[in-house]
C-alpha cells in the first residue's frame, strides 16, 4: 500500500503555522486527521478575507538549464473586512513573502519491505576459523565472485588473485578451492592486502546480472530481500530511463556517496515523522563528475563497462 510522504513543514494545524500564508488562504495544505491518522486535504485555512483569487499562467523561462514555470496570481479582498488601504497593505505584507523559496516534495510511495535471513549451508571448520582472524572486508565476497562480467579489479579482489593464477581465468576457480586456499590466497594476493579491505568499503552493484556461482557453495550467508522488484530493465517512459540509457547511474551513485552537502529534512510518513538525508540531484547531475568518472580507492563498481558506451554512441549516430 502506498504511503503519502509530506514535507513536515507542509503539515499544519492553523493558518498561522503555514509557511506560505497565501497558499493557505487560496490553496491547500495538509492536516493530519487525528481520527484515522490519514492526511486530509483541506482548504479551510482560509480566513475569509480574500474574495477571489485567479492564477494566470505566463510563458515559462526556457533560457536556463532547468526551465522555470511562471504564473501571475491576482487576489481581491473582501471590502467589508478592511477599513482602508493601509489595513489591506498590512494584510498583504503579512500574507505574501517575496523572494523566499517554499519547498514542496509531497509524494506517494510504496515503501519496500525487507526480509532478512541468515543461512547456514554447511560446516567448513577451516574457513570459519579464518573468519575469526581476518577483517570482514578481506573475507570472500560472494557478490564479487559471482559477478558475470569481465571486470579485472572485481575479479582480482573477489577471487583473491595470486601470482599462481596467471595462467588461469579466475572464474574457473571453484568456490571450494577458494574456501580451502583462503589464507594462502590472501598471503599471495597480487596487490596489497590493504587494497582488498579499502576497495570494499563502498561497493556499487549497478547491474542486473545472473550470478555465475551458487550461494549454496558458501558455508553461510546473510540475505536481504526487498519487496520492490528489480529496477532493471527500465522502460523508456520511466524517469530513470536517461540515467540508464547514458550509463550515468554510476556517476549519480558516486556523487551521492561523495556529496557532503546534503541537507536533513523532516518528512511526515503516515503518522510518524522521519528525518531523511536530501541530496540535490540537479546539482549532482550538473557537476563535473557527470563527464569524468574514476573509481576512488575506497570504491568498487560492478557494472558492464566499455561495451555500452560505444553501443549508445553508434546507435545515436
Amino acid at each position: 500500500m502506498s504511503t503519502q510522504i509530506v514535507d513536515s513543514e507542509n503539515v499544519i494545524r492553523s493558518l498561522n503555522e503555514a509557511p506560505d500564508k497565501l497558499r493557505a488562504e487560496i490553496g491547500n495544505y495538509y492536516r493530519l486527521n487525528p481520527a484515522n491518522n490519514q492526511y486530509t486535504l483541506i482548504g479551510s485555512f482560509s480566513s475569509g478575507k480574500i474574495k477571489t483569487a485567479t492564477i494566470e499562467d505566463q510563458l515559462p523561462n526556457d533560457q536556463v538549464l532547468i526551465p522555470i514555470k511562471k504564473a501571475t496570481i491576482t487576489i481581491e479582498g473582501e471590502e467589508h473586512v478592511f477599513r482602508d488601504h493601509v489595513q489591506w497593505n498590512e494584510y498583504i505584507a503579512q500574507t505574501i513573502t517575496e523572494n523566499r523559496q517554499f519547498l514542496d516534495h509531497t509524494f506517494s510511495f510504496t515503501q519496500p519491505t525487507v526480509t532478512n535471513q541468515f543461512i547456514k549451508n554447511f560446516h567448513h571448520p577451516e574457513y570459519e576459523d579464518n573468519t575469526k582472524i581476518y577483517p570482514s572486508n578481506q573475507l570472500l565476497n560472494y557478490n564479487l565472485i559471482s559477478y558475470p562480467w569481465d571486470s579485472q579489479k572485481v575479479k582480482d579482489i573477489g577471487y583473491l588473485r595470486t601470482q599462481f593464477d596467471d595462467q588461469l581465468p579466475t572464474n574457473l576457480v571453484s568456490s571450494s578451492v577458494l574456501l580451502n586456499e583462503f589464507p594462502n590466497r590472501i598471503a599471495n594476493y597480487t596487490g596489497s592486502i590493504e587494497e582488498i579491505s579499502l576497495k570494499q568499503r563502498h561497493i556499487f552493484d549497478l547491474d542486473a546480472s545472473s550470478p555465475i556461482k551458487s550461494k549454496e557453495d558458501f558455508p553461510f550467508y546473510y540475505e536481504k530481500k526487498f519487496s520492490t522488484g528489480q529496477l532493471l530493465p527500465v522502460p523508456p517512459q520511466s524517469s530513470l530511463y536517461p540515467l540508464f540509457q547514458y550509463k550515468k547511474l554510476k556517476n549519480l551513485f558516486q556523487s551521492i556517496k561523495k556529496d557532503l552537502s546534503f541537507s536533513l529534512r523532516t518528512f511526515n510518513i503516515g503518522r510518524n515523522q522521519a528525518q531523511a538525508k536530501v541530496y540535490n540531484a540537479i546539482s549532482l547531475l550538473t557537476s563535473t563528475s557527470l563527464v569524468r568518472f574514476s573509481e576512488a580507492t575506497d570504491e568498487l563498481f560492478c557494472y558492464q563497462k566499455a561495451k555500452q558506451t560505444t553501443a549508445i554512441f553508434r546507435k545515436d549516430l
Partner: protein, 393 residues
C-alpha cells in the same frame, strides 16, 4: 565521446525534469510529485552502529547476499531507500498592491486587490531514508544435551562414562524444544545473545564434532547453576591406541563415543552432569544430574547411581485451629444491644458490637503463656451481616 554523451544526457534529463515538474496550481492543490525508487543503500556496522560503517553497498537489485561475516561477531545492517523526487520550489516576486481606490494600474475594478508573480522551479532531490535495521551474527548451531551411560569394574575404584550424541529434538514428537544454548558459565551468555541473532534456533548436529564437557560436584546441587563451579574437563570422541613399551607407536583413533574415567573416593556421593560442545564451543543444555556412589566392601567395588532431581523450593503455610485451645467469653454488657428498649425494640449497627460508646472498632486480646512468657496478640474486628430478622422490626 564522454562529453557528447554528457550533453545528450543533460538534454534528456532536462526534458524529463521539465515534464515531471508541477505548476503552482498543482502545488496549491497538493498534487503528488512524481517519484521513483532509485535503489538501496545498505550500511554495515560491526558490533555497534555508533561508529562509521565498515562497508556500504549501493544496489539496484532486489536482494543482497553477504558472505563477509566473521564468526561470533554482531553485525548491524541499516537499509535505506534512495528515492528520486521531482519536487517543487517556488517563490513570489513583483508584488503590487492597491494603494488607493483610484489606482490607474489596477487589474480589476475591486477596491482591494494585489498581484504577484510566482516562479516554480523543479526541485529534483534524492531522498535517503531508513526502511530497515537488522542485527545478525554467525554462531554455530548447538547440539542437544548428550546421552551418558556409566559403568564400573568391581576390581577398580573407578567410574566410567560413555558419552554419545542425541540427534532427535523433542520438537519432532510434538513437544516443546528446550532452549538450545545452555547458559551456565558467564561466557555462555554472550554466545546465547549472539545465537538469538542468528535466526534458526533449533538444535542441530551440523556443527557437532564430538566434544563434551564434564561437571562434577561432591555436594548435592540445589539448582543447575551450582554446576557452574564444578567444571572438570572436556573429552572428545577419540582414544589413544598403542604401547610404547612394546614399540607400538601411540596413535589417535576416532570412535563414535567419548569415554571419561574418574577415580573417586568410595562410599561418597558425587553428582555428575554433561554438556556437548560444537566445533566453536557453543554449549548444549546441561543434562539432568546423575548421583553416583562407589560402594566398597571387603573385596569389590560396586557402583550405585540414580537420576538426581533438584530439590523443589516449596513455600508452606501452617494452620492450626484454635477452637479447642482458647475460649473467649464477652462481658455481659458486651452482649447487650446498644439501643435495646425492649425485647422487640432494639437497634444494632456496624461497630456497635465492639464498643457501645464508639470509642473503638476492634478488640485487642493479649494471650501470655504461663510456661514461656511469650505473648500473642489477637486483634478482633466484627463485620455485621444482617439477616431478615432485622427487617421484620
Amino acid at each position: 565521446m564522454n562529453q557528447l554523451n554528457a550533453v545528450r544526457f543533460l538534454a534528456d534529463m532536462r526534458s524529463q525534469v521539465d515534464q515531471s515538474s508541477r505548476d503552482i496550481k498543482q502545488i496549491y492543490n497538493n498534487e503528488n510529485c512524481e517519484s521513483f525508487l532509485l535503489g538501496y543503500k545498505i550500511e554495515k556496522y560491526l558490533d555497534n552502529s555508533a561508529t562509521q560503517p565498515i562497508q556500504t553497498y549501493y544496489t539496484i537489485e532486489n536482494n543482497l547476499i553477504d558472505t563477509q561475516i566473521k564468526y561470533g561477531r554482531k553485525y548491524i545492517y541499516k537499509t535505506k531507500a534512495l528515492v528520486g523526487i521531482f519536487g517543487s520550489s517556488y517563490s513570489y516576486t513583483n508584488l503590487q498592491v492597491a494603494q488607493s481606490e483610484a489606482d490607474p494600474g489596477a487589474p480589476t475594478s475591486e477596491k482591494y486587490w494585489a498581484t504577484v508573480d510566482v516562479e516554480c522551479q523543479p526541485s529534483f532531490q534524492i531522498l535517503e531514508y531508513e526502511i530497515d535495521s537488522h542485527e545478525v551474527a554467525f554462531i554455530d548451531t548447538p547440539m542437544l544435551m548428550p546421552h551418558a551411560t556409566l559403568y564400573g569394574r568391581k576390581d577398580k575404584p573407578f567410574v566410567n562414562f560413555m558419552l554419545q550424541p542425541r540427534f532427535f529434538t523433542l520438537g519432532d514428537f510434538g513437544q516443546e524444544d528446550p532452549a538450545p544454548v545452555g547458559i551456565l558459565r558467564p561466557s555462555d551468555e554472550r554466545i546465547a545473545d549472539l545465537y538469538e541473532l542468528s535466526g534458526d534456533l533449533r538444535a542441530s548436529p551440523d556443527y557437532f564434532t564430538g566434544i563434551y564437557e564434564v561437571y562434577r560436584l561432591d555436594t548435592p546441587p540445589m539448582t543447575k547453576e551450582d554446576f557452574a563451579n564444578g567444571f572438570l574437563t572436556t573429552v572428545d570422541e577419540s582414544v589413544d591406541v598403542g604401547n610404547l613399551d612394546k614399540n607400538i607407536p601411540i596413535d589417535r583413533w576416532e570412535i563414535d563415543y567419548a569415554r571419561f574415567t574418574d577415580r573417586i573416593i568410595p562410599n561418597k556421593k558425587y553428582y555428575y552432569a554433561f554438556r556437548s560442545l560444537t566445533y566453536h564451543g557453543t554449549p548444549s543444555q546441561l543434562t539432568e544430574p546423575i548421583e553416583v556412589e562407589l560402594q566398597q566392601d571387603s573385596d569389590e567395588f560396586k557402583i550405585v547411581s540414580k537420576h538426581y532431581s533438584y530439590p523443589q523450593q516449596n513455600t508452606y503455610t501452617y494452620n492450626k485451629k484454635a477452637k479447642r485451645l482458647i475460649k473467649i467469653t464477652p462481658n455481659i454488657e458486651r452482649l447487650l444491644f446498644s439501643k435495646e428498649e425492649s425485647k422487640d425494640d432494639w437497634e444494632l449497627d456496624e461497630g456497635e458490637l465492639v464498643s457501645s460508646d464508639g470509642s473503638g472498632k476492634a478488640f485487642k486480646i493479649r494471650i501470655t503463656s504461663k510456661h514461656t512468657g511469650k505473648k500473642m496478640d489477637l486483634n478482633i474486628t466484627f463485620k455485621l451481616n444482617k439477616d431478615d430478622t432485622f427487617n421484620q422490626t
